[in-house]
């Protein structure tokens, strides 16, 4: 049975059964969400398995390289943001009280806790990688000295030996932890051995066990039962497990033995296919790795290890002067190592990204918990909607509201430009850079009278979350609505759709692009051809860069202390 049919029929069923309850657009959102997850993940597949035109556009990074991981995390952050917007935010708790979800959501939350631990362990592992990078850098630096002398070679050899023993010890420890490793560490008594001995958790903690625990109770929902939210929750759990699994496989992490090479993948869902592809590839590599007993699947580490061995070999047989042939060979290897070292510089942002991941998971967990608590608290139903407790956004919203009103009452214009300079407010908000890049989004709308325009602007200004909007514009004939600011695109789209059903996202661009090629419409062409329902937005611009920021600041609680009267008003 082709998986597409299955999914389609499933969604149709929901829409028939719950027609009165769930609005059309909500179902569409959920469907979109699944599609986007699949899209994002399939971008990560290496080109060989995929259509040719993809490779032509943008040569993707090597599987399991640092750059690949950065993209993987980006993709995950996007999924997470959309998941939050679609599934959790602004939803009535009653939705979660029903049969499968009341079990699924707590299970998902359990998984997130484990994921948080893994994040911490990974952060720790990245520190170890950075340590290796420094050692490699020593070797590279001394081998690049001209003219090369015996001293330089010796120095490089020493550093590389330390590096290699650190890698293998780290590995040995994974296999028979305890005395053997300690003894080995004593034998070498070199730099870095001590480091690998200190782990961030108690000895009994094991990454592979965590992964196992995360995936063990992850069972695909059966086709018939669920409400619309079951699949997204399951999907999200799944993506979470997958990402964690990939990271544990690649980055040195406490106690990885017994990490399964396979995850139970639900073949019947379309969104799972790219993941299955990735998983098979990584699983193969992992099996090979386990036999050889080497450390970490990370592309850079493996290459580093290989090069290290070669260069040490060369250094062992080093006599002065060097033969020209050999020198050239070594030079090549050194150059490669330089390149790897440069790539490994990316580890620092990767580490920050892991941290950001951590924060995101914490935040959506907190929000989900809020909803759950609310659910358990009340036996009689209250008409409460619980919104995330973000202070800044509420302030901004009221503020922009006021401005909207003023503009509209003062003059009758078709071209309206509201520019809200939030920073001028008495409460000093965080500078834009700490909250993510401002983006300029153009929505294609159909707003021909003043009233609907006003409604639309109200709606977009109500986008909730820790975001703000700098300006909203509706152009003369009411076909385009441009919003500039730091806000959740998906949320905005949802809000707008309530006003104007035909709203589509026309374009998204980051106002101050950090990485220039980020938002190029890479691949909308092949996707667009697929026959979809009539309301499909023209192009899947969903791969917007997540508001990821290197210097992450949390919820602005200083602002709260100053004057905001809303921080406890969660419900």
């Amino acid at each position: 049975m082709p998986p597409t049919d299955n999914q389609g029929s499933f969604l149709n069923r929901i829409s028939i059964r719950r027609n009165q309850v769930v609005y059309e657009h909500e179902i569409e959102d959920l469907e979109q969400f699944q599609k986007h997850v699949a899209d994002r993940l399939s971008e990560l597949l290496p080109p060989s398995s995929h259509a040719d035109e993809l490779a032509a556009v943008d040569p993707p990074e090597t599987l399991l390289s640092i750059a690949w991981f950065r993209r993987l995390l980006d993709a995950f952050l996007c999924c997470e943001a959309e998941f939050k917007a679609v599934v959790i935010m602004g939803r009535d708790a009653a939705n979660f009280a029903k049969s499968p979800l009341d079990r699924l959501i707590p299970e998902h939350l359990d998984r997130t806790v484990k994921a948080l631990d893994i994040c911490n362990a990974i952060t720790h592992g990245i520190d170890l990688l950075l340590h290796w990078q420094k050692l490699a850098q020593i070797a590279v630096d001394s081998l690049q000295q001209r003219p090369i002398g015996e001293g330089h070679v010796k120095r490089a050899r020493k550093a590389l030996n330390t590096l290699l023993s650190s890698i293998t010890i780290d590995d040995k420890e994974n296999h028979h932890h305890g005395k053997a490793a300690a003894a080995a560490a004593k034998d070498h008594a070199t730099i870095g051995n001590l480091r690998s001995l200190s782990y961030c958790f108690a000895r009994s903690w094991s990454a592979s066990k965590q992964i196992q625990a995360m995936s063990s109770n992850l069972v695909a929902p059966r086709g018939g039962e669920p409400t619309g939210l079951v699949i997204p929750v399951y999907l999200m759990s799944f993506v979470l497990v997958f990402v964690m699994w990939a990271m544990v496989a690649a980055i040195p992490c406490q106690e990885r033995t017994g990490l399964g090479a396979h995850l139970q993948l639900p073949k019947q869902f379309q969104w799972a296919h790219p993941m299955i592809g990735l998983q098979e590839k990584i699983g193969e590599l992992w099996k090979k790795k386990e036999k050889k007993g080497r450390s970490g699947l990370l592309d850079e580490t493996q290459r580093l290890e290989k090069l290290g061995r070669n260069i040490v070999e060369f250094a062992d047989g080093f006599t002065f002067p060097v033969e020209a042939e050999k020198a050239a060979e070594v030079e090549e290897q050194v150059a490669e190592m330089v390149e790897i070292c440069q790539k490994m510089e990316e580890l620092v942002p990767l580490q920050l990204q892991v941290r950001e991941l951590f924060h995101r998971i914490v935040r959506s967990r907190a929000e989900a918990l809020d909803v759950l608590d609310q659910m358990s608290e009340r036996d009689r139903s209250l008409p409460i909607r619980r919104y995330p407790s973000c202070i800044v956004s509420q302030k901004c919203i009221t503020f922009s509201f006021a401005l909207c009103k003023r503009v509209f009452s003062s003059s009758y214009k078709t071209y309206i430009n509201i520019d809200i300079v939030v920073q001028n407010r008495s409460c000093r908000l965080l500078p834009t850079s700490t909250m993510g890049e401002p983006q300029k989004v153009i929505f294609q709308v159909c707003l021909h009278d003043c009233r609907s325009q006003r409604k639309a602007m109200k709606a977009i200004s109500k986008v909730i979350g820790e975001f703000w909007i700098n300006s909203i514009e509706v152009d003369v004939d009411g076909n385009n609505l441009t919003a500039v600011g730091v806000f959740d695109l998906i949320c905005g789209h949802r809000k707008l759709k309530k006003v104007c059903k035909k709203t589509k996202i026309k374009s998204v661009e980051i106002v101050k692009p950090e990485e220039p090629k980020k938002e190029e419409p890479k691949k909308e062409e092949p996707k667009k051809e697929e026959p979809k329902k009539e309301e499909e937005p023209k192009n899947p611009v969903w791969h917007y860069q997540p508001p990821y920021n290197p210097c992450y600041m949390p919820q602005p609680f200083y602002v709260a202390v100053e004057e905001t009267p809303h921080c406890c008003v969660i419900f």
């Binding site: 806790v113 484990k114 948080l116 631990d117 911490n120 952060t123 720790h124 520190d127 420094k134 850098q137 020593i138 000295q145 003219p147 002398g149 015996e150 001293g151 330089h152 010796k154 120095r155 020493k158 550093a159 730099i191 870095g192 001590l194 480091r195 001995l197 200190s198 782990y199 961030c200 958790f201 108690a202 903690w205 965590q210 920050l352 967990r365 907190a366 918990l369 608590d373 608290e377 009340r378 209250l382 008409p383 409460i384 407790s389 210097c551 992450y552 600041m553 949390p554 919820q555 602005p556 609680f557 709260a560 202390v561 004057e563 905001t564 009267p565 921080c567 406890c568 008003v569 419900f571």
Partner: protein, 611 residues
Amino acid sequence: MEPPENDSQTAQQIILRWDSTASQLPMIFQGDRQEIDRYLQAVDQIQTSIQSTTLSEDDGVDSQSTNAIQIAMARLEDEFRNILITNSTPIDTESLTESVSSAHLTPRTSTDNDEYTTRGEDEALPRDPSSSLLQRIGSSNKFVNCRSMNSIREQDLIPPESISDLRCIAQRMITAGYFRECVQVYGSVRKSVVDGSFKKLGVEKLSIGDIQRLEWEALNAKIVRWIRAAKVCIRVLFASEKRLCKQIFEDLGTAADDACFMETVKGPAIQLFNFAEAISISRRSPEKLFKILDLHDSLLDLLPDIDDVFDSKAAESISIQVTEILSRLAEAARGMLSEFENAVLREPSRVPVPGGTIHPLTRYVMNYISLISDYKQTLGELIVSKPATASRLSGDSNSPDIDFTDHEGQSPLALHLIWIISILHFNLEGKSKHYKDNSLAHLFIMNNVHYIVQKIKSSQELRDMIGDNYLRILTRIFRQAATNHQRATWIGVLHCLRDEGLHSTGSFSSGVSKSALRERFKSFNAIFDEVHRTQSLWLIPDEQLREELRISILEKLIPAYRSFLGRFRNHIESGRHPENYIKFSVEYLETAVLDLFEGYAVNQHSRRRSQ
């Protein structure tokens, strides 16, 4: 040209003599001072010769010199490590706990410090819920002390002469371009020392999952211990490490001291704060509030010192993390307060408390509130919004309606307290409906609201926060309940004692209808007996209130009965069997009323016989 050449050759010889790869040699720096100086001098000499030859492009000499310098550096690296390892005793925690805990104790005990340090650890942990209340109050006092007493105190981790040796070596290594090696060696050795200190301080490596699984009681103890450990870690351990880095690496270029410091401390610091982070994201429940506040307080208190210690660019992430944790803890505290409000509002028990006495919920909530007032300072900073009242859920009959305009000018926290009390009252009103006897329901409300008022009055802080305004409202509520109770009970009794209906109809003053009068006395006796029997089972725990209510009853009942008796006694006594109709004397009523609200059954017959 000759002399420098010779010099450099002798220098090379010195270095080759100490080649650590060639043979097992003792450490230079454990030996003769002169030898050390000679060696360092030799290294310097070769270093300068390399620098000069790079200009003159003399291949042969250069190769020799670089070789020599490599050997020297390997040697120096070993020396460096050796010095560090010989000086790697973990931090002296004994003296630290003493100094930190004596800081708390100075106001209480200043003589028996030594004894306290050993036992103090266990004593500070709350044993059971009843004592934990006192403990919490005690601990909040403690913080005031900490704030004034505690600050960064560095210790000497390594004796000064070793420091100067280390500095000599570090200087050579950095000049020769061996900066990275130097940092690596330093970091790895010192880090293991810090790990050792962590073990001594009892900083555990717990994962977030572990912490989520822990029982609250156990976690409670861990939080107390963590707070103490964190203080030592920041103010003594990390600060001393920082100073050590400064002493060894200051002015050696390329921010060596910061790099070394971070290399040493980053991992441990992350490990330390992981615990607080895990606490800050754990599930919220009201009973955790005060421990969370303790944690928040102490972190906030530590924050300036953390900023001080981690002030470099590389260390920024640590202080950012702490700020994040703080804001999350604050958020958690807010969440817990509103959770508490919800819990109070929705507390579902429906079984009425026998005797209309104080409901356990009332006691619990009031104790909680007085704890909140103990944490007034912290919570006052955290709670900045008015409570979410019924106005937002308009049309909702499941929560009380309160207008905060009456309480303008009060802090948000105070408004929250008022709100909690009013939802408590609301909930109690709901519970009172489950009493079958209306009069008992009123008594129940009276008792509970009176308890609330007394509780507020007993604590000056609470009283200041709640304000006289609201206190008056509460007083009015329980007075009203008392009146209602009396009305509900005694109106039937007094009804029997009225004049109307006794005079035979139609005729003017022909006299009193005897049968009606007998009926009246009979029903009075029956009702009073009933009231006496039931209501002596009821309970007013507060003595004064009980007394007041009895007096108020007597004031109404006795004059009415006396005058009724005075007017109609003759009619009954002139008939047959007067004792069947006039059962109670005025004096008996007076004593009988004193039986009311004591909470236990009285044997009426024995009492009557003794009359």
